[in-house]
Subunit: 192 residues, 3 copies
């Protein structure tokens, strides 16, 4: 099954969850993790930190696939910056979908986006690039999620909602149907 190597960018807590997804998916070998210079040589769930951002041009020559595993709570600034750097380096950013998630065949998901364990992306949904659909999130029918978003754990986007680029949608938040959501939505919110 495993037919390709991938670099993970960011070695914190979100990286732990993404490693779990990649291992369950059993499609990619993790080549190593890129993190801060002081962490080089450390291990993250058994995988070595092999360099920092400055090493990316060299790493891109030996491993042409990467995924961003930095979290996104207060800001997605670093995730967006890295995304554009990876594109400039011609790295391929696959879509990573947990085999424990469900993505409708009528949905589309763009590059660099991860769909974590027990998430559900329903019919006719469209998800942009470099977005996190976190564990147990529910993206209902006809929802559009923009680029560089974080749809947090166990949150619910009901039918027909549009989520603007760069939105943080907090853990276990709920939305009405057919509304527009942007900016920063706190955990547990009900958005009307």
């Amino acid at each position: 099954m495993k037919n390709d190597y991938i670099i993970l960018i960011g070695g914190g807590g979100h990286c732990h969850s993404v490693i779990d997804v990649i291992e369950q998916q059993n499609r990619y070998h993790i080549y190593g993790i890129v993190d801060k210079k002081e962490n080089i040589g450390n291990k993250v769930l058994g995988y070595p930190v092999i360099g920092d951002d400055e090493d990316l041009p060299e790493l891109a020559k030996v491993c042409p696939k990467a995924i961003i595993t930095i979290g996104h709570i207060r800001t997605n600034e670093i995730r967006v910056k890295i995304f554009h750097l990876l594109k400039k380096l011609n790295l391929e950013l696959p879509t990573i979908i947990s085999p424990l998630a469900y993505v409708s065949k009528h949905a589309t998901i763009a590059e660099g986006t991860v769909v974590m364990h027990h998430a559900l992306v329903n019919a006719n949904a469209k998800i942009g690039v470099n977005t996190i659909i976190n564990s147990k999130a529910l993206i209902e029918h006809d929802v559009t999620v923009g680029d560089h978003c974080h749809i947090s754990t166990a949150s619910v986007l009901n039918g027909g909602v549009t989520v603007a680029n760069n939105t943080f949608y907090g853990s276990n938040a709920t939305s009405k149907q057919n509304i527009i959501i942007n900016d920063f939505i706190k955990a547990g919110s009900v958005v009307k």
Copy 2:
């Protein structure tokens, strides 16, 4: 696997989700969709709108199974009216259960009810007719849900709760145990 045809009544957003469930279930061919007269000839996720309500007597002669795919938010009036019409026409209303949902073998679910992706109906639960158990809804042990209800996305009915007929239980709502719930419960409510 597919051994029978079924008509879907209602071609809106909820229909998209039900189509996804029926396709994953791989048990029924979708014969076509009944919607407003002005939509006849349109397609919904690739399936044709083949008639409106007035065509149901004729359609019932060629396709003896149907499921109601109209949503239920403010009112279930149309869903109830169509349910009685379909019964009068002797249409069979199967129970549709997503293969990605879990229904305990100790639970019972009545005709015309749909259990959507990632829903869970636990031991000793009883669900009435023409009810929507929506995506990721949790129906815990010993819950009774009446007829013509909508238990919305990611909502939680805890152990021993009784839900009256015609109830709308909002998205991501939560209940205490062993209480009675009826009428209209807003999204995100905690019902005590």
Copy 3:
């Protein structure tokens, strides 16, 4: 598959859910249920009540495995008392994990703990003894849950949270990341 007998201690609503998990797991035969004296001879989802607490020393001689199926809402006092009694009687308390749950191989779960249907225990999580991880609960990466806790239905513990021993974490509650939680958290709370 089924290679061993197990006694269930407590015949109420939570027991119904645990029976469903054990049946789906298909690993243990249910030897019988221990409940109040007046319930001896009754059946719980088809399994007989075979004794009360006072019969445990005798029962331990014929069936060396047990799991506590008493609920925990206001207090876990009885669950803790029984746990220590079972240990004193040298009963083995297995970890019961629903085949419909997901537990990361990077997580650890101690004895006597049950992980119910559709729960998710993510990478690097650690769960103590005699704890209930209830249906659809989400335990994110790097969470630590202590002993004798109840993480209720559909609740969310976000990354890096620490839950103290004896905590009740209510249904559909949500937490911030990296905080400490203890005592009694109401259903639907957002804990900061």
